[in-house]
Amino acid sequence: MSTLNGNDGEMEHFDEILEDAEPGTPLGDAVAQLRTPATVNESTASNHIAAALGAVRLGPTHDRASRRYRWRRRTVFGTALTAIATKVLAASVALAAVTGGVGVVANSAAPGDPLYGVDTFMEKVGLMNGGTQERLEEAERLIIRNRVSEGLELAGNAIGALRDGYEPAAAALEQAALQAQTKTQTSEQYRADATEMLRTMTRQMEEKQINLVNETAEQLRVTTRQMLNQPESIDDTSTTCVGCGTPSTTCADCTPSTTCVGCSDQGSGSGDGHHGGDDTGGSDNSGGNTGGDTGGDTSGGNGGGGH
């Protein structure tokens, strides 16, 4: 009977009472039964989570007046900041003009893409921003394309290169990458969660929240392990990109350009015919996707998430 979080002396009396409420006694059984969490059905759960997400993104509803006040106070400094930001922006636009289109396109390349070499080269020369943040974005793109292990490894290496106390995060990601090696196909829910966690880590790194980065990485490792423990064939409904043969649930990889990013070496396939049964496949998936209740972009997934 020690699942209650004890608080030294405060607890004594309660436990005393519960001593004769051992399992088997009527009171003991009743207490155990009350402690068993109720089950929430899945559609209720996903509705609640979607509503909560909507509310968070809208921000606090009360306290409007004080927020407005804060904003007004900030604008005095804000104008100065905007002026600086404009200059920085102008400078980077000029730089982009010099480096030319190739660099811009290459900058969004992921490992394995033809332009990726150009991307890293330009970073080495110091022209494009590069750095951990961009590595993490690349890792996201890899995961979206179902190259989970590579993505996690890239993220782990990028974070590991920083040292500064990020070692646990790097280790967690590396471990997750190793575990995910055998997996060639993952659920859309997992990919959404994993990419969002990487984004969370990017933000936490910007804020120098080292512990939080490490914890998020650990969470990502746990999520990955749970995903791996789930039975195969989660993506039964997925369509296969005819261009590259990559399984793709949403085909988000390939729109809107005529070239599938997953297989850009295939060149400019003809726009519409690029996917196997684009129409049927597309609608199938959006239907199977927990009925997307006002979910918006990321909240389409259900609460299941394999927790």
Partner: protein
């Protein structure tokens, strides 16, 4: 309990990360729903949604560890229970606590029995027969797993009073359990 990763989950939840809210919901919803049912809430699932909505609206201003967070969650749930109690009282539908059991949600899905021959619903009905103060303390103690100091903050009672209510509530519950239905 989420455990060591809680700070990261909380941080991500504040920014509206899907995975973090799934984690919080999966961790807490079962207990909160059990708590609401134990209080005979009329639409426990809807009230559960209300609790999470309010969490979401105010999470940006929350600061603390997992224990404090759980305490906060159940404080919100407790307020929803009180709201309902007051609403019913105002409408004169069920002027006393003791009548609440007649409208207690049957909750057909909660038949999972932990070895006892009583159903969860029957135990909830017994809880309705306690005084509301005793029920508040016992549900926060047993279902939510909060400590006496935490409960004394939520209920705005001295720790000594909480302990006394807990003892009397448990005694009453034991007596009811010893009498066959």
């Amino acid at each position: 309990m989420i455990g060591p990763g809680f700070n990261s989950v909380l941080d991500a939840a504040k920014t509206g990360a899907d995975w973090a809210w799934s984690a919080l919901y999966n961790d807490l919803s079962g207990q909160v729903l059990g708590y609401l049912r134990a209080h005979g809430a009329r639409e426990p699932e809807d009230r559960l949604g209300d609790v999470f909505l309010q969490l979401a609206r105010n999470i940006s201003s929350f600061d603390g560890d997992e224990g404090a967070f759980r305490s906060w969650v159940f404080m919100i749930a407790h307020h929803r229970v009180i709201d309902e109690r007051r609403r019913l009282f105002r409408r004169h539908e069920h002027p006393t606590d003791d009548n609440l059991d007649s409208v207690a949600e049957p909750a057909p899905s909660a038949e999972d029995e932990a070895g006892s021959n009583l159903s969860t619903d029957e135990i909830h009905e017994m809880l309705q027969e306690l005084s509301s103060a005793q029920r508040d303390v016992l549900t926060l103690r047993i279902i939510a797993g909060l400590t006496v100091p935490e409960i004394s903050v939520i209920l705005r009672k001295r720790p000594g009073a909480v302990k006394a209510l807990q003892r009397r509530g448990l005694d009453a519950l034991r007596r009811k359990l010893s009498v066959p239905l």
